[in-house]
């Protein structure tokens, strides 16, 4: 399996590896995939009071392309609003990393992880507004 230089770079030097406090009200967590399928992505985003994503962290169990896809989106997410984040498309990830057809599912998984993290955060914010 030949990987693009960008995939190799993210694999060798993954950006923003780690975890945020999943119980914090301004942190959204998305966990997608399954071990039996060979990849699990955990993506977390943290927003500031203006609703801008100020931090993003990931952990990924998966192939080099899955690691690179999730590492890349943590870079892209910072500075975006939740609506802008939700607009990130798997095709853009696949294009940036020059993923071969058999690895497109890695970019799909990264897009799903963003959507899950945004949805988690929105449900938390929605819940806290109702409580207030």
């Amino acid at each position: 399996m030949a990987y693009s230089d960008k995939v190799l770079d993210h694999y060798e030097n993954p950006r923003n590896v780690g975890s945020l406090d999943k119980n914090a009200s301004n942190v959204g967590t998305g966990m997608v995939g399954a071990p039996a399928c060979g990849d699990v992505m955990k993506l977390q985003i943290q927003v500031n009071e203006a609703g801008i994503i100020e931090d993003a962290k990931f952990k990924t169990y998966g192939c080099g392309s899955a690691i690179a896809s999730s590492s890349l989106v943590t870079e892209w997410l910072k500075g975006k609003t939740l609506d802008q984040a939700a607009e990130i498309k798997n095709s853009a990830i696949a294009e940036e990393l020059a993923l071969p057809p058999v690895k497109i599912h890695c970019s799909v998984l990264a897009e799903d992880a963003i959507k899950a993290a945004v949805a988690d955060l929105k449900s938390k914010q929605h819940g806290s507004k109702e409580a207030a």
Partner: protein, 405 residues
Amino acid sequence: MSDREPIYLDYSATTPVDPRVAEKMIPYITEHYGNPASRSHPYGWTAEKAVENAREEVARLVNADPREIVWTSGATESNNLAIKGAANFYAATKGKHIITVSTEHKAVIDTVRELERQGFEATYLDPEPNGLIDLEKFKAAIRPDTVLASVMFVNNEIGVIQDITAIGNICRANNIIFHVDAAQATGKVVIDLETLPVDLMSFSAHKTYGPKGIGALYVRRKPRIRIEAQMHGGGHERGMRSGTLATHQIVAMGEAFRIAREEMAAENERIRMLRDRLLHGLQEIEETYVNGDLDHRVPHNLNISFNFVEGESLIMAVKDIAVSSGSACTSASLEPSYVLRALGRSDELAHSSIRFSIGRFTTQADVDYTIDLLKSKIGKLRELSPLWEMFKDGIDLSKVQWAAH
């Protein structure tokens, strides 16, 4: 990261040709190029003598009669010739049922599958979780119409040694032809066909420091076993395998097997020391699992799964060593090893396994480098792994509801 060649720890895939073997082989390409079947001039006589000397060397390693050795192109051809040849010859008198094992090499499994397509029936026994066959289950698989059983001596992926004597005795008692694929066994375990109750045995040169493209099939003479030829032509090899003999390849296989016979005992001691060093080093890493029985096993093989690390990223991480992975990472999808699945390993553990195979030219420095590399890379990948984090938090991963995708 360096530009040098990765350290070779894939001796079960193939071995380098021993320089002594190469040296002995070359004159039979350039000088003694006669056809061993040419009876009318010295070119042919010289080649024939070399072929017969080599046949004797192969026979000596396994304590057989040279007349019981048939040259083939390798173990795959030997397996095809033995299984198809004997099954077809004896089907009319004995029946059309074959017993083999689900962890056999594809050259056996797919040959039996082909016979199934032609009207035979087959039982594929699953081994125990340690990779070994339960003899009672083997006996239970026998039917009145069982004509042939095929069980490998040493498994290529996990290195376990089956009890060939016991299985052979069961076959004898039930009048079943017994074939053994010994491609991974020569030079690693003592093979004595004088006492082993085996009818047909497959050999390969390139797993034992000979060249690729040459192998042999042992066909027992007492009691005489008959096989139908699969390759027809000039009637070479007493009609069992036609085709001009590859003198240089045959000479090389003979020399490789001679060296194996003479050096096997000392070499196995050294390799066992290296394997134990590798095993102890890698077992310092948490959540590692050895695949296959450790006692009934050749010292050349160590197959280990590293939990919570994904297979393909693991292979990327260890590119400074040449090893085999439990994931057959084919073009489209990651397929877990069918051997490890047959042992009952989960997909995850099968994917994250590495087969280290050690050989004649492996050094202690190679082993120490490998241990350090694995410790560092497994640590790094686990830092990245959400599964490792959950495991460390005490979460039972088998109880998690994963989002299907």
